[in-house]
């Protein structure tokens, strides 16, 4: 089981490493976005509030889009079908993707984290390893979401259309720019059902309030629940897409 997972993860990593342009963009784009956030918010207190949320939003966004498009290509190029005819199970494929992309999620988090702290001078009160663990949980959610949503897209163009549908509402309602508690009541209700809301709450608690992972059990639980549910859905829909 683990042998297959590590084989698939190794291939996912190798594929991304050989695509140099994507690798450069993976590192540069989050830094550009963080820089824009940094220079457009001159007030330090406001920047301290928004910067942790940017970490959570970017990991969800890039995890979703990278996995979604990679999986879509697996389906359209026939490699997923080939893999499904091999001894690798659906769980091996999903596990391999998770492991492969999480490496990039950790790398991206660390680069972005150090940029926010040391270049943009964002305040920080927690422990880096706890932030990485929490970001991995959001990363798992993003990968499972990307795999599951890719079932509904037939090409890259359609996959990109899911960003405004799946990601943007979460970005607007997660409390990135203003607290969820200040939104109209019906929006607060919607926000309660969106996983990124818990991602942003959790990372702010870790980075701003100096809380530990043990203090944000509710946020971790909700994110893990969403990730587990999506992982099951992703595994269930894997063969359907491969054979269509």
């Amino acid at each position: 089981m683990f042998n297959q997972v590590s084989t698939i993860a190794g291939r996912v990593i190798l594929q991304l490493l050989r695509d140099r342009r994507t690798m450069v963009l993976l590192i540069l784009v989050p830094l550009v976005i963080a820089s824009i956030v940094g220079v457009s918010i001159p007030e330090k207190q406001m920047l301290d509030y928004i910067a942790p949320a940017v970490l959570a939003v970017l990991i969800l966004f890039f995890g979703f889009i990278l996995t979604g498009i990679s999986f879509l290509r697996e389906r359209s190029q026939g490699t997923l079908e080939r893999l499904m005819a091999s001894p690798a199970s659906k769980g091996d494929v999903v596990g391999g993707y998770l492991l492969g992309f999480l490496l990039f999620a950790v790398l991206q988090t660390m680069i972005l984290f150090f940029y926010l702290i040391y270049v943009l001078d964002v305040s920080f009160a927690g422990a880096l390893w706890q932030i990485i663990v929490f970001q991995i949980i959001i990363g798992i959610l993003a990968v499972c979401l990307g795999i599951f949503i890719s079932v509904f897209a037939r090409n890259e163009f359609q996959m990109v259309q899911f960003i405004p549908l799946i990601i943007l509402p979460q970005v607007f309602l997660c409390g990135l720019l203003w607290p969820v508690s200040q939104m109209p009541e019906y929006l607060q209700w919607i926000a309660k059902f969106l996983p990124l809301t818990y991602g942003v709450d959790g990372i702010r608690a870790l980075m701003l309030d100096g809380q530990s992972l043990l203090d944000i059990g509710k946020e971790i639980g909700v994110l893990a629940g969403y990730a587990a549910g999506l992982m099951v859905l992703a595994s269930l829909t894997l063969r359907r897409g491969a054979a269509s």
Binding site: Q15, Q77, R82, A85, S86, S89
Partner: protein
């Protein structure tokens, strides 16, 4: 049950059916393929060849009926016994030839590193691409991609190999080379199941099943099928049309 021709058939299909929503793709199909031969599934587009192959490699589950591979029910445990070359080249375009073949060798549980490296080299040489082993697949021509795809399908030395339209888009010279490889594989004891809609491919097969509308309308060696038409100079196209007409009359 299927009446066994030999006790060790490579593939046994017993009244298997498959529908895509309301369309019957495979209709109570019964088939037996002996071991160690090249067996052709011949028929026009939409005859059900690809659906049948997808069922035989375990990608589609039959709605009814039974499938056995090398004497065993089709499960994940039988997957290592099967090699599968899909219609599309189905390769990772960013990876090199050697990385693609090595990946599939690992997925097919070739754990010994040295043996795996040796076998990977062997199959890449077999498809005559060793000089270009470090090139990305995206830089290769269509024919080269087909050759890499074949190498990925045979790297784990499967006793049963499914090839879905393997020669589509190949020039005559390359098609000839492919059939030389296939003949070598059957000489080594591999059973080949090849789908095709071209008569040229069909002539290379030891036995053929002519398919139409999800059923097998005739089976036999190419010569047997040609002889059945009653014409001296009949080719396989004539044979196919003869059996189609006979089928229509019987309906």
């Amino acid at each position: 049950m299927v009446k066994r021709q030999t006790p060790t058939a490579a593939v046994e299909v017993d009244k298997a059916s498959f529908n895509y929503k309301n369309i019957k793709a495979i209709d109570e199909l019964t088939l037996e393929v002996p071991r160690g031969i090249s067996f052709g599934l011949l028929g026009p587009n939409g005859a059900g060849k690809t659906t049948l192959i997808r069922m035989l490699v375990g990608l589609l589950k039959p709605k009814s009926g039974n499938i056995r591979i090398l004497g065993e029910d089709l499960t994940r445990q039988t997957a290592p016994l099967i090699g599968y070359m899909p219609q599309l080249p189905a390769l990772y375009s960013e990876l090199s030839i050697i990385q693609n073949v090595n990946f599939f060798a690992r997925v097919y549980q070739m754990k010994d590193k040295q043996q795996r490296a040796q076998r990977v080299e062997e199959v890449i040489k077999l498809v005559d691409l060793w000089e270009r082993r470090n090139d990305s697949v995206m830089k290769l021509s269509g024919g080269m991609k087909q050759r890499v795809s074949l190498a990925c399908a045979i790297v784990h030395n499967p006793p049963l190999l499914f090839l879905d339209e393997p020669t589509v888009g190949l020039d005559p010279e390359l098609r000839f080379t492919f059939w030389e490889h296939f003949a070598e594989l059957t000489r080594q004891g591999t059973t080949l199941i090849v789908s095709s809609h071209t008569m040229d491919d069909a002539n290379h097969c030891d036995r053929l099943a002519l398919m139409r509308d999800g059923v097998v309308i005739a089976q036999g060696t190419p010569n047997e099928l040609k002889k059945a038409t009653g014409k001296k100079e009949a080719n396989l196209e004539d044979a196919f049309l003869y059996f189609v007409k006979r089928e229509e009359k019987s309906v």
